[in-house]
C-alpha cells in the first residue's frame, strides 16, 4: 500500500534521514519511534511532500507519490495547526467541502458525530484561540479523519490528550486501519504498545 525506498534528507550539513526503507499495508499501524530531534517529523513532512527528500521515493499503491496523489495521504501535525480565522466547524469542513468528498449535509453530520465522541459538541463555533491544547489537538485529528485518506499519519497525537481521549483515539485508529494504512509517530510508549503492528526505530 505505502512504501518508502531509500529516503535521505539533510538540512544543510545536518543529515537527518539516511537511507530509510519501510512499508505499511492496509490494516496495519506502523509506529515510528526515536529520540527527540532524530527526524521523525521531517520524515512525515517528506511523506506528504511538504519537504522534498534529497534521495529516494515514496510509493502509494505502487505509484510514486507526487503532486497529484499526495492528497490521498493525511497528516496530523505535531503542533495542531488550525486555521486561525475559521471556527471549529469551518476548520473541519473547509477541506471536505473543497474536495467535495461527500454532500454538505453528510459532512456536517459526520463532523458532529466525531465532535460528540470527543466531547467537543459545545465548541462548534469557537475559534482556535479559544481552545485548550488538547481540544485543538482533537479538532486537528477529526479534520484529518474526515478526509478519509488512504494513508493517515499522526505526529505525537496524544501529546495533550488525557487518558480517556487517548483511549478514544486508539479505538478510532483500530477502526480506521481496516480501510487505511496508519503511521504514528510518538514518544508515548503506552500508545505505541496499544496500537502499533510494526515499528521503525530511528536514531
Amino acid at each position: 500500500m505505502f512504501k518508502a525506498e531509500n529516503i535521505s534528507k539533510s538540512y544543510g550539513d545536518l543529515k537527518v534521514l539516511e537511507n530509510m526503507n519501510f512499508q505499511v499495508e492496509k490494516n496495519e499501524v506502523l509506529a515510528i519511534v526515536g529520540p527527540s530531534g532524530v527526524g521523525k517529523s521531517t520524515l512525515l513532512k517528506c511523506i506528504v511532500q511538504l519537504e522534498k527528500q534529497d534521495e529516494g521515493h515514496f510509493y502509494l499503491n505502487e505509484t510514486k507519490v507526487d503532486e497529484k496523489n499526495r492528497i490521498r495521504i493525511g497528516l496530523v501535525f505535531q503542533s495542531s495547526s488550525l486555521f486561525q480565522h475559521l471556527n471549529v466547524m469551518d476548520n473541519l469542513l473547509i477541506a471536505v467541502k473543497y474536495h467535495k468528498l461527500y454532500e454538505e449535509k453528510e459532512a456536517v453530520k459526520k463532523a458532529e458525530s466525531y465532535l460528540r465522541e470527543f466531547g467537543l459538541s459545545d465548541k462548534k463555533s469557537a475559534y482556535p484561540s479559544e481552545l485548550s491544547g488538547g481540544q485543538k489537538q482533537r479538532i486537528a485529528i477529526i479534520r484529518a479523519l474526515l478526509l478519509n485518506p488512504l494513508v493517515l499519519c499522526f505526529d505525537e497525537p496524544t501529546s495533550s490528550l488525557d487518558g480517556e481521549n487517548k483511549t478514544l483515539l486508539i479505538d478510532i485508529i483500530r477502526k480506521i486501519k481496516k480501510e487505511q494504512a496508519v503511521i504514528v509517530v510518538s514518544h508515548d510508549e503506552d500508545l505505541i504498545e496499544r496500537v502499533a503492528d510494526k515499528k521503525v526505530i530511528l536514531g
Binding site: 492528497i71 501535525f77 488550525l82 486561525q84 473547509i94 484561540s129
Partner: protein, 213 residues
C-alpha cells in the same frame, strides 16, 4: 466664509462629486487588481514581471504617470479622453501599492497555516482566496487604510489632466476671491470625508479582529 460658501457651493459640490467619483472607482478597480497581482506573485515565473511593474509604479511620481498616459501616449497613437486616462493612471498606480501591501501581509502569515493548506491538498488559488488573502488583509489592514485615505487626497492630481476636483476648485476660488478661506473650507470637507471613511474602516478592522490570532 458663510457668504463665500453660499455663492460657491455649486462649484464645491461638483468638485466633491468628481473627487468621490475618482476615489470610489479607483478604490474598486485597484483593490480587485491588487488582489489579482498579489495572487499572480505566487507564481515564480510571474515574479520578475510583477517586480518590474512595482518598480515602475513606485519609482515614478503618480503625477508623471498621469501626464505620460495623457500627454505621452498620443505620440504612440493612443489618445485617451481625460476621464479614461485619469482612471487608468490611478488604477495602474494604486494596484501596485495595494499589491505590495498584501504581499507583505501574506509573508507574515505564519508558516504553519500555509503548511496545513498544502497538506489538505488545496489548490494555489483556493489557498490564496480562503487562507492567505483573509489573513493578509487582517495583518495589513492599517496599511491598507492608510492607502485608502491617501487615495482620497491623491485624486487631486487629476487637475493635471484638466479635470476639476476639490483642491482645484479651492484654488480657483482662492484666486477668484483673493483669499485663503477656500483652502480652509476644502480642508474641512476632506477632513469630514476622511473621518467618515476612517470610521467605516475601523469598524471593518474591529470586526476582523474579533477573531483574535
Amino acid at each position: 466664509m458663510i457668504n463665500m460658501l453660499q455663492s460657491s457651493y455649486p462649484m464645491l459640490l461638483q468638485g466633491l462629486g468628481q473627487t468621490l467619483f475618482y476615489f470610489i472607482i479607483t478604490l474598486l478597480t485597484s483593490s480587485l487588481l491588487g488582489v489579482l497581482v498579489t495572487y499572480l506573485y505566487g507564481f515564480r515565473r510571474m515574479r520578475p514581471l510583477i517586480s518590474f511593474y512595482i518598480s515602475i509604479v513606485r519609482g515614478t511620481p503618480l503625477l508623471l504617470q498621469l501626464i505620460f498616459i495623457f500627454f505621452g501616449l498620443p505620440y504612440f497613437g493612443i489618445t485617451l479622453d481625460r476621464m479614461t486616462a485619469a482612471l487608468i493612471g490611478f488604477t495602474f498606480n494604486y494596484t501596485g501599492y495595494i499589491a505590495e501591501i498584501l504581499r507583505g501581509g501574506i509573508q507574515s502569515v505564519p508558516q504553519d497555516q500555509k503548511d496545513v493548506a498544502f497538506v489538505l491538498g488545496f489548490s494555489k488559488s483556493y489557498t490564496f482566496y480562503r487562507i492567505l488573502l483573509p489573513l493578509s488583509v487582517r495583518n495589513s489592514f492599517p496599511s491598507l487604510s492608510n492607502e485608502v485615505l491617501v487615495l482620497l487626497k491623491d485624486t487631486a492630481l487629476i487637475y493635471a489632466l484638466g479635470l476639476s476636483e476639490l483642491i482645484k476648485v479651492s484654488r480657483t476660488l482662492a484666486n477668484l476671491y483673493v483669499s485663503a478661506t477656500p483652502f480652509i473650507i476644502v480642508g474641512l470637507i476632506y477632513f469630514t470625508l476622511s473621518i467618515i471613511i476612517e470610521k467605516v474602516l475601523k469598524k471593518i478592522e474591529k470586526n476582523m479582529r474579533k477573531v483574535t490570532i
